[in-house]
Structures are given as C-alpha cells and as structure tokens.
C-alpha cells in the first residue's frame, strides 16, 4: 500500500522516524530504481541530507509545519540554485541555475527536502517522456510502457515510491496525463495561481506549475505552500490562497457534476469508459448530481493548441543562442553559423519541429490564417467552458483515451502523439484548474479520472477528489516490485 505524504508528515511529527532516516531510505530507493526507471536526471544527496538534518532540528524544536522534513523531487524545468537544470535537453546539459525558481524557494522555506531533479520530455514538449535527451522514463507499472509526459519522471517517481511529492508543469496535459498513466494524483492549478518565475518557459500563456502526489490531501498540503502572488511573475495572480487542507472537508452532496458528452465519443477505450463511469457513480452515491454538458468546439482544442503553443515556443526558445548560456557548437564560422549549429545540435527533433511549426504560423502571410484564427477558436472554447460551468460546478471525465502505451508506439507520427492530449488541452486553453486521480486499471495499467473546474476552484476539485479517495483505494495501490 502506498504511503501518503500526510501519513509521512504525521510519522515525522510523532518521531516514528527522522527526516534524515526517511531521506536516506528514499535516496537508496532512487539509486536502486534509476537503472530500470530512469525517473531522475540528477540526485542531490548532499543537499537532501543537509536539508533533512535541518528539518529534524526544526521538528525537535517544535517548529515543524506539515511539510517540514518531507522529501520532494523537482521537475528539471525548475531552476535550482547551484544545481544542474537541464529541462531534459542537450542544450542545457551543463547549465547550473544561478537562482531558485519561486516554487523551489517556497517549498524549501516550508521545510521540504530536495532529493533530486526529475526526468522530463525535452523542454516539456512530449506526451511520453521519449523526447528527453537523457533517455526515456519507464512506467513503474510496466517497463515496456511509457509513463506519459512531459512530467513523466515526476509521475513515475511518485508511483514507484521515490518521494511523496514531485513538482510538475502542465502546458497541454503534462501533469494530468502522466499522473493518469502512472496511477497517481496530479493537479494543474488555475493559470497564474502558481508563480512561473524560474520555471523554464515553453508556452507562456498556457504553462502552469503544479504538483504530483499520492493523494488529493497531499496535493492540498503542497499546493497551499506553492501557490500565491509573486511580484517576479507579472502573470501570477494577486489573490489570497485558501486553506486547501481545511477545504477538503467540503461536502460532495449537492455538487453538480458535468458529464461532458464529447469526452465519451469515439476514441475512448471501453475499459477506460467503464472505470470513469463507475467513478461518476461513486460521486453520485456521495450525493452529487450528474448533469449533461456539451462543449461543441472542444474537438478543435488540439488544432488550436498546436498553433498557439508552437508559436509561443518559437519565441521563448529564441533565447538559446549559444552565446549567454547553454550549448555552443564547435568552431563556428561566423555568427549565423554559431546560432544555426548551436540550435540545430543542441535541440532534439521534437523541439525543432515545434519551433519550426511556430515560426511558420507566425510568418508573414500566415499569421491571420493560423495564429489569429487559433486565438479566436481558443476564445470560443473558453466561452463554452464558461457556459458549461453555469450548470455544472465541476466537469468530470477521462484524463486520457487509453492507458499507457508501449515505448515507440507513437513516435513515428507526431500527430498521433499529439492526439493523446485530446481531453487535457481544453483546460490549458481556458486557463482552468484540473486534476487527475486514479480510478481503475486495465491490463495491469492505471486509468485516470479528470476533474476540471472554473478559475480558482482548486478547493472544490481537491474536495471532490478527496471524497472519492475516501471511498476507493486506487490511489493506494503500488506497482508490483515498488511497494
């Protein structure tokens, strides 16, 4: 049975074991699973043990908060002062961040212990963790399957019990899809809820940091420490952070759950549909009412995303020029050659594909047809969500159409890979909070349930997920060999 962060927190508080003991145990686990799972890019054992010792002193002094001494793994997209931050790319193979991301700083201030940096798709572009320069992550439930992406290392780490929390980011589903495929809990907060400062940018109007944990209660504890206004991120929202843990007790009775017609149409595997419908019945049994909702334009979310996200990525990744930081080619002939070869050699195939797609849709003569059109469709989808949330408090459905697929199964055609995010992209386009929690299995592989809500409804999502997790034990199951 998987141990939750909340349980570890109680054990540390009661001195059943110390943070140093817990940290040593998890570091040993990380080392042992690295050859088979490849969930991490860097293990920061010295930092972890020093932070754990400091946490133990806080606990002894009676100054411990709920996260004091709790180990965490940071997705390698978050800058960590003095520690290599690669973003899964050759481009940043030797980049040692000169400052901490706000998220890293806040979680350290809350007493969390950094074990290492999680593997990920290169620059968070991918849905299978196969685009990482540091090799693919394997799914702990079945090493022949992908863990999902782009936060594949974070999700696999939680599933394999390497830590009780891992930071993650979500631009089109990169928290929820790997959480679903690895059978763990992941939340993507409302756009602007968590600071993006020090989080390497992919698509700035879509990117949002969040957390992957064993349970919704755990997610509530960590999110409370991560969220909040940051003057260093002009898009972070200046709005009080609720007490998410206290909010877990909000009743499900009376909650209006929207069942999205379009998410149960073609493409959804029968086993996934059965598990999701069974989960809806569990929530109904707790007093929620199910209402039918429809988002007629949601089918256009993948096409809209693959204009908007590459456009923003082509602009954001222009900073990698081989001059100020990152990879530089050998013996450049002139400045143009320096730019072209440093970028050509430093970026992997998928990143180059997205930069080129973005460059194309923003180029003279195509801007209106692609970029402006996609922004209008984005507005259409956001407005449809707004109308749906007039009759539903949350929308619940599948996170992914299938369970984890085999390594290599979708690498030949990028569009096949992109369509894997068909249920998750809508929340990013509209800036909505959304989460994925485990709700069943098919062929020994986990199935994810997605909950989406209106802007700043994290409390409501966490409460519904927590109520569901009280009734079920899917989130408690560990992969064979990783108990």
């Amino acid at each position: 049975m998987r141990t939750t962060l909340a349980e570890l927190s109680a054990s540390l508080k009661s001195r059943a074991f110390s943070s140093v003991e817990l940290t040593r145990r998890l570091l040993a686990r990380a080392e042992a699973t690295q050859p088979s799972l490849n969930a991490l890019i860097t293990i920061t054992a010295d930092i972890a043990l020093a932070q754990a010792a400091a946490a133990d002193r806080e606990i002894a002094a009676g100054r411990a908060g709920p996260l004091t001494g709790i180990p965490i793994i940071h997705k390698d997209i978050f800058c960590t002062d003095g520690v290599k931050t690669t973003c899964g790319s050759r481009m940043l193979e030797n980049f040692v961040a000169p400052y901490d991301a706000t998220v890293v700083e806040k979680l350290r201030a809350a007493g969390m212990v950094m074990l290492g940096k999680a593997n990920m798709d290169e620059f968070a572009m991918g849905s299978s963790n196969e685009t990482s320069y540091y090799g693919p992550v394997r799914n702990p439930w079945n090493p022949g399957r992908v863990p999902g992406g782009s936060s594949g290392g974070s999700a696999a780490a939680i599933a394999a019990g390497l830590a009780p929390a891992a930071t993650a980011t979500d631009t089109g589903g990169s928290i929820r899809q790997p959480a679903a495929l690895c059978g763990v809990t992941g939340i993507k907060p409302t756009y602007g809820r968590v600071s993006r400062y020090g989080m390497i940018a992919f698509a700035s109007s879509l990117d949002q940091g969040g957390i992957i944990t064993p349970s919704a209660e755990d997610a509530a504890l960590v999110l409370a420490a991560m969220a909040g206004y940051d003057p260093r991120d002009s898009t972070s929202v200046d709005r009080p952070v609720p007490d998410y843990r206290a909010g877990l007790e909000r009743p499900v009775a009376g909650l209006r759950i929207g069942v999205l017609k379009e998410f149960f149409e073609k493409g959804l595997e029968p086993d996934n549909e059965r598990s999701v419908r069974a989960a809806l019945e569990v929530l109904r049994g707790l007093g929620a009412t199910l209402v039918d909702v429809s988002l007629p334009s949601i089918g256009l979310s993948v096409p809209a995303y693959y204009v908007v996200a590459p456009a923003e990525c082509s602009s954001n990744l222009a900073r990698f020029d081989g001059v100020r930081f990152g990879y530089r080619c050998k013996e450049p002939r002139d400045l143009l050659d320096l730019y072209r070869r440093s970028r050509g050699e430093g970026f992997g195939a998928e990143v180059k594909r997205r930069i080129m797609t973005g460059t194309y849709v923003l180029s003279a003569g195509y801007y209106d047809a692609y970029y402006l059109k996609a922004q209008k469709v984005r507005q259409l989808i956001a407005s449809e969500f707004e109308r749906a949330f007039e009759i539903a408090d949350v929308i619940v459905g599948p996170t992914t159409p299938t369970a984890a697929f085999e390594l290599g199964a979708k690498t030949a055609d990028p569009v096949t890979m992109y369509l894997n995010d068909i249920y998750t992209i809508g929340a990013n386009l509209a800036g909505l909070p959304a989460m994925s929690i485990p709700c069943g299995f098919t062929g020994g592989l986990p199935i994810g349930l997605q909950l989406m809500g209106p802007h700043f409804s994290e409390e409501r999502l966490l409460a519904a997920a927590h109520a569901y997790q009280r009734e079920t034990d899917w989130h408690r199951r560990s992969p064979p060999g990783h108990e």
Partner: protein, 94 residues
C-alpha cells in the same frame, strides 16, 4: 510542404538541419498543418482573439526601480565563452 519552405523556416528559426532531417520535417509539418487546418471549420465571426487565459486581470506594471544587483560573474559562469566580463562571439564586422 516543399523542401524550399522547410529551408526558409529553418533559416528564420536559425536551425541548422542536416540532409536527412529535411524530408522528415517536410512530412511531419505537412501532417501538423493538416491538423491545424481543421480550425477552418470553426465559425469565428465576431469572436475576439484570446491572448491571455484570464481576461480582465490586466497584466501589472511595476514601479521603475532597480531591484536586481549586479551578479554578472555568476550569470556568466554558464556562458560558453567569456573574457573580461564580455561574451565572446565570432567576429561580426570585418
């Protein structure tokens, strides 16, 4: 997507592609543009383009005050080539 177009885009994006990569990107960008071409199906008459997911929450401006201290040595420790506090690049002006 023609070979020439891929070369033009790669040049605009400052990406050096090797010979083997060009047909791969020709094929995959063609596929991606087919996908994004589905946007034409949507009737967007009178719909305002959405650039930011939280409309109404205008991006803030901050006071024009110095908030960073000089840390160029630290930042430049990540640079491929630095001399006397300057980033080195190939000669630009003959």
């Amino acid at each position: 997507m023609q070979r020439k177009e891929i070369e033009t885009i790669a040049h605009l994006a400052r990406l050096d592609l090797d010979e083997a990569e060009i047909p791969v990107y020709q094929a995959s960008l063609t596929r991606i543009l087919e996908l994004t071409g589905e946007l034409d199906r949507a009737d967007t008459t009178g719909v305002a383009p959405m650039a930011h997911p939280l409309p109404g929450l205008a991006q803030r401006l901050r006071a024009d005050e110095v908030t960073e201290r000089d840390a160029h040595e630290r930042y430049q420790s990540n640079a491929p080539e630095v001399e006397a506090g300057l980033y080195l690049v190939p000669k630009v002006i003959e």
